[in-house]
C-alpha cells in the first residue's frame, strides 16, 4: 500500500502519482499523513482507488473526483469534493463552505457540520450531512439530493432548480422560490436509499425528514418581476 507523508514529500508529487494511475492499477489503496491543511489534496482523481487522509485538509480536497473514494479523517476546508463527477468522498469531521459545490455525481458524506453554501449549484451529486449546514446552502442547485440530519441556515435553496432537499431539523429560512413539499412514498424511498448509502440505515428514519424543493416560479423571466431587478 503506497503511503505518503506530506510533511516530507511535496504535495505535487502525491497528486502527480495519483493522476498517473491507470484504471486497472493494483495500487488501489493510498494512505496520506501530515496534510496540515494543504490545498487540493487528491484533487482530479480518475481511477477506482481509495485514498485515506489522516488529518485536516485545506481547500478543494478531492475536487473534480471521478471513481475514487477519498476519506478525510479530520476537517475539510472550502470546496471539498467540488465538481465531483462520481465516486465517494467522506469527511469524518466538519467541512467549510461550498462543500460539494457544482458536483455532478457521486456521494459526499460529512459526519460533522458543513458551513455556508453547501451544495451550491449542485448538478446531480448526493450529499449527506450528519450535522447542520450553513446559510445559502443549495443555492441554484440543479439536480441531486442534499440530506441534512441537523438544521439548515438562512435562505436554504434560494433560486433552486430540481435538486431535492431533505432536512430533519429546523430550517432558519427558505430562499427565494424554495418551498416545503409533501413527502410522498417515492421520496421516502429515495431518502432511505441515500441514508443507506451513507451507512445510516436504522439510525434515522426517513419519516423524520421534511422535503424542500423549487416552486418553479423563477424558471422563466416574468415581466411582472421586472421591478425587482
Amino acid at each position: 500500500m503506497p503511503s505518503f507523508d506530506l510533511r516530507s514529500a511535496p504535495l505535487r508529487e502525491l497528486n502527480r502519482a495519483l493522476h498517473a494511475l491507470r484504471p486497472d492499477t493494483n495500487e488501489t489503496h493510498w494512505a496520506v499523513t501530515g496534510p496540515d491543511g494543504r490545498h487540493a489534496i487528491a484533487a482530479g482523481l480518475d481511477a477506482p482507488i481509495s485514498v485515506e487522509i489522516e488529518g485536516n485538509v485545506g481547500y478543494y480536497c478531492a475536487g473534480m473526483n471521478k471513481l475514487a473514494t477519498v476519506l478525510v479523517n479530520g476537517n475539510a476546508g472550502v470546496g471539498v469534493a467540488e465538481n465531483m463527477i462520481s465516486g465517494f468522498v467522506h469527511v469524518r469531521g466538519d467541512a467549510s463552505q461550498s462543500a460539494g459545490a457544482t458536483a455532478h455525481g457521486g456521494l459526499l458524506v460529512i459526519d460533522g457540520n458543513a458551513g455556508a453554501r453547501c451544495g451550491i449549484s449542485m448538478k446531480g451529486v448526493d450529499i449527506v450531512v450528519k450535522g447542520s449546514i450553513g446559510h445559502m446552502s443549495a443555492f441554484m442547485a440543479q439536480a441531486g439530493t442534499l440530506t441534512v440530519l441537523g438544521d439548515a441556515g438562512e435562505a436554504l435553496g434560494d433560486s433552486l432548480y430540481e435538486a431535492k432537499l431533505y432536512v430533519r431539523g429546523s430550517v432558519k429560512s427558505l430562499g427565494a422560490d424554495c418551498i416545503e413539499k409533501p413527502m410522498r412514498d417515492e421520496h421516502l424511498r429515495e431518502l432511505a436509499e441515500k441514508l443507506a448509502a451513507a451507512g445510516l440505515t436504522g439510525e434515522v428514519s426517513p419519516s423524520e425528514f421534511r422535503r424542500y424543493g423549487s416552486a418553479r416560479t423563477l424558471y422563466h423571466f416574468n415581466v411582472d418581476n421586472a421591478g425587482a431587478y
Partner: protein
C-alpha cells in the same frame, strides 16, 4: 485576498514564545498576501511603567528616527527611552505628554509617523514578504500576551507601508481586516465630524476609527463590533485587539475565510487552518469556523481566568 492571524494566550507560560508562534503563523499566510505585512504585539504586564505610554514611530530608517528623537528630546526637554527596530522606534514617554509629542513630530519631523500608542501595544508594518518583515523587526523574539498579524494583497488602496495593517486609531486598539468596505468614504467623513483623524485613504483605517469612536462613546469592544455589522457595508473578517481583549467578527455573508482554534492555553485565529498547524496541542484543540454576524470576544482580567467563548 489578504491573510490574518491572531493569537491570544490564556496560559502565561507561553508568553515568552508569543512572537515565535505568531511569526510562523504570519509566514504561512504569505500566499494570501505577499505585498506587505504587519503585526501588533501586546507586551506582558509591566512592560511599560505606570503613567507612561509607548509610541511606535516609523520612519525611512534608523538614522532619521534617531535624529527625530534627539530633536524631540531637546525641544521638549524630555528623556524618552527609545528601542530601535529597523524602520520603527518605540518610545516610552509620560502619558500626559503624548499630544505634545505628536504635535511636535507632525510639525518638525516630516516622514516620521506615529503608528501606534499604547500601554502595552506596539505595531510594526512594512512593504515586503511577511518572512522578511517579521525578520526585520525580530518578531520571533518578542514576548507578550497577545498579538495580531496581517499579510496584505492590496485591493482598495496602494501598496505602501501606510496601507499595511494593523491599523490603530486608539490607545492599545488595533484592527486587521480581510475584505473590502464600500461605505468607507462616507463613514470617514462622518467620523471626522466626531473629531477622529485619519492618516490614509484606506478602508480598514475607517473600520478601526469606527470601533475607536464607538468605544470612546462608551461601548464595550463586543458592543462596538455588534454595531459594526449594521454600520459597515462590505466584506469583512475583522480581528481586533485591545489592551486586555481579543475579538473576531465576520460580516453576515461570510465570504472571507476564518478558522479558529481554542485550547486551555490559547485562542488562535487564522484565515486558513494552515496558519494554525504549528501551534502546540493543535491536534486536540477545538477547531471551528466563526459563524457569520456573530461577535466572538475574549478578555483577560488580571488574576482571573480568561473569559469568552469555549464550548
Amino acid at each position: 485576498m489578504c491573510g490574518i492571524v491572531g493569537l491570544f494566550l490564556k496560559n502565561p507560560k507561553l508568553e515568552p514564545q508569543l512572537g515565535a508562534m505568531l511569526s510562523k503563523m504570519l509566514e504561512t499566510m504569505t500566499d494570501r498576501g505577499p505585498d506587505s505585512a504587519g503585526f501588533a504585539v501586546y507586551g506582558s504586564d509591566g512592560a511599560s511603567e505606570a503613567g507612561s505610554v509607548k509610541l511606535t514611530l516609523r520612519g525611512p530608517g534608523p538614522a532619521a528616527l534617531r535624529s527625530a528623537v534627539a530633536g524631540l528630546e531637546e525641544a521638549l526637554a524630555l528623556s524618552a527611552q527609545a528601542t530601535e527596530r529597523d524602520t520603527h522606534t518605540v518610545l516610552a514617554v509620560p502619558a500626559e505628554r503624548e499630544t505634545e509629542i505628536r504635535d511636535w513630530l507632525r510639525a518638525n519631523a516630516p516622514g516620521i509617523d506615529v503608528v501606534s500608542a499604547g500601554r502595552r501595544m506596539e505595531i510594526y508594518k512594512e512593504v515586503g514578504l511577511p518572512a522578511s518583515v517579521a525578520e526585520r523587526f525580530a518578531l520571533e523574539r518578542m514576548t507578550g500576551t497577545h498579538g495580531i498579524g496581517h499579510t496584505r494583497m492590496a485591493t482598495e488602496s496602494a501598496v505602501t507601508t501606510n496601507g499595511a495593517h494593523p491599523f490603530s486609531t486608539g490607545t492599545d486598539e488595533c484592527l486587521v481586516h480581510n475584505g473590502s468596505l464600500s461605505n468607507h468614504n462616507d463613514l470617514r467623513r462622518r467620523l471626522r465630524h466626531e473629531g477622529l483623524t485619519f492618516a490614509t485613504q484606506n478602508d480598514t483605517e475607517v473600520a478601526a476609527g469606527y470601533l475607536s469612536w464607538r468605544m470612546r462613546e462608551g461601548a464595550s469592544l463586543e458592543q462596538a463590533l455588534e454595531s459594526s455589522l449594521t454600520d459597515l457595508d462590505g466584506f469583512f473578517t475583522f480581528v481586533v485587539g485591545t489592551e486586555n481583549g481579543f475579538a473576531v467578527v465576520r460580516d453576515p455573508i461570510a465570504c472571507k475565510p476564518a478558522v479558529m482554534a481554542e485550547t486551555d492555553d490559547y485562542v488562535a485565529f487564522g484565515s486558513e487552518y494552515r496558519a494554525l498547524v504549528g501551534l502546540p496541542g493543535i491536534d486536540t484543540a477545538r477547531v471551528f469556523e466563526p459563524e457569520p454576524a456573530k461577535v466572538y470576544a475574549w478578555e483577560r482580567v488580571p488574576n482571573q481566568p480568561v473569559s469568552g467563548e469555549r464550548q
